[in-house]
Symmetry: C2
Subunit: 309 residues, 2 copies
DNA sequence: CATGTTCTCTGACTCTAGTCAGAGAACATG
DNA sequence: CATGTTCTCTGACTAGAGTCAGAGAACATG
């Protein structure tokens, strides 16, 4: 896989953690423990529940409690019981806290500026473009795809988003009652399954598989959130769905799609799907595709090394 | 300057320090304080003097001493007086230490692989290329240019490298005795000055200015180490030299150069130098350039925000 | 309304990281 | 060879970051 990509990546890691990581802390920890600054930042201008902060920063409750006490002593925040649930406590920034947070914001800007400052305009443009590419591709690696219960709230969110999107994109809108129905039970093993893609715990895509024994399996509900496009999420969902189909004995997968979904159609073609005559009478479909699944285990386990946590 | 470059840079900082910075520590600190791992790494297979390690890691002597004691307790290193100077102590890795260091190396590779793993070949190539660009441009910001005593060892290194390089590149070689001489005293104020560019304390370039009162100032000895090319160092040296010339009252700067130095010639042209008739009888010169200096203080202080430390 | 759960807080720790002052050996130099 | 300098080490600290086990209040539920 390498040849040789590892060397440059390591070199990048070294340079960037030195150049940015170290500076970052230096800039943010000014006169206050870094932890406190992070919390101050995370509270945000609108305030936040202690519980939410703890979840976002993944921090021990005792530790957070002490950090908040420190910020309270500095008169930067005020902690009060949340109005609706008196177990949870709500943190708000005081006037001074907002000022201090703005200062952190300013510092963060300044750090960014200090990276751009020694460069001329052309170099700046190149740097920012390359940074965008790196960020996008590194983010792609954070997307995790797993089998999900279609009844979960994350799954329902994705499916609803899927329907909302096709409704807005199809020429005729989309009425679920007019389409071939897929019961939720069809998306649970052994009848089928639903995959969910998440980025930092947020659902950003889905894809479903409906199994028909050794008959061709069907792909349904393939959707990627607008915020996660360009990360290769769709392609990975597709590959994982095929993997599951193969694992369950299918040798062919097929799907139908609407002519408006051009990126999807492009994805299917480039993933080896070929157009075939209509194999169902789905009223919203214009194209039908199928793919012969290759010998087991070629695309499987796309990223064995990605740390999960 | 922004419009809006700051936003993307901040976003990059956040994403990358999270994705790489955090993982980096997780990977390297395995079962040992991070500091100890860094020291283990820095010793290298060939061993090193304690003094050298301290300089490289910029670490307190007491702290380092304790870290070394810890590594000794783990039987990973052996510390002995250096053979030539019994004040300094030399550290060498034991067999176990080498194994452990190789393990760190492996982990670092693995981290790099984990970043590439979720991507397909095209994405990998794009990522690595963009990383290279980011690294190069961030490194460019670390180059510091300052006035230097021409007698210092760093200055002598640069001047010797300069002569060695032109000797190997000129069609006829280069014999200092045949060229117009420049005495070291001419490169010290008030007669002139020498600028040195350093990257992480290592000299990577130089450029000299010879002043002639209100007559045109002369630029000499402009050189950039092969390892630092493409970072815009030459352009910055040029700009700084012009700045000093202007500060000292010159309104015109000029220089002569050899036809083999094509990148330099290209640099001069793109920096606003125009070719003029020979103004001296330098036997190695084929081209003579000059530049009218604009109103004071336009290019000056190219990077006021770069943290110096 | 008894019981279990959720949420926050306190107390009591551990580990890393890092600083500072001085001691002692080895070396450099007039 | 006396004196100052360099280098490393020890002792004595401080502070940040984080963990763990409960306690107590508020809520949820049969």
């Amino acid at each position: 896989m390498e040849g040789d990509l590892i060397g440059p990546v390591r070199s990048f890691n070294r340079t960037v953690t030195q150049r940015i990581g170290a500076l970052n802390e230096e800039y943010l920890a000014q006169s206050r423990p870094l932890g406190a600054s992070r919390v101050l930042w995370e509270i945000g201008d609108g305030g936040a529940d202690v519980r939410a902060i703890r979840a976002r920063l993944d921090i021990d409750s005792g530790y957070l409690s002490r950090l908040l006490r420190g910020l309270e002593d500095e008169r930067l925040v005020r902690v009060q019981p949340a109005p609706d649930d008196h177990r949870v406590r709500a943190v708000r920034l005081t006037e001074a806290g907002r000022t201090e947070r703005a200062e952190l914001d300013r510092r963060s800007d300044q750090l960014a500026r200090s990276l751009l400052a020694p460069l001329n305009d052309r170099q700046r443009a190149r740097l920012v473009e390359a940074m965008g590419t790196v960020e996008q591709l590194l983010t792609a690696g954070l997307v995790e795809i797993e089998v999900e219960d279609p009844a979960s709230s994350a799954a329902r969110f994705c499916l609803q988003s899927y329907f909302a999107e096709i409704h807005s994109r199809f020429d005729t809108g989309f009425d679920p009652d007019a389409s071939i129905p897929v019961a939720a039970a069809d998306l649970v093993e052994p009848a089928g399954l639903l995959l969910l893609a998440r980025l930092r715990h947020e659902p950003v895509g889905c894809g479903a598989l409906k199994l028909h024994g050794t008959e061709p399996a069907e792909l349904k509900r393939i959707w990627v959130a607008a915020s996660a496009r360009g990360l290769g999420v769709g392609r990975r969902i597709l590959a994982e769905l095929e993997h599951h189909a193969r694992r369950r004995g299918a040798t062919v997968v097929r799907l139908d799609t609407n002519r408006r979904l051009t990126e999807a159609i492009h994805l299917y073609r480039s993933a080896g799907y070929v157009e075939v005559p209509a194999f169902n009478d789905e009223p919203y479909a214009h194209h039908w595709f199928e793919k012969q699944l290759a010998t087991p285990r070629t695309t499987a386990q796309a990223h064995p090394l990605t740390p999960t946590r």
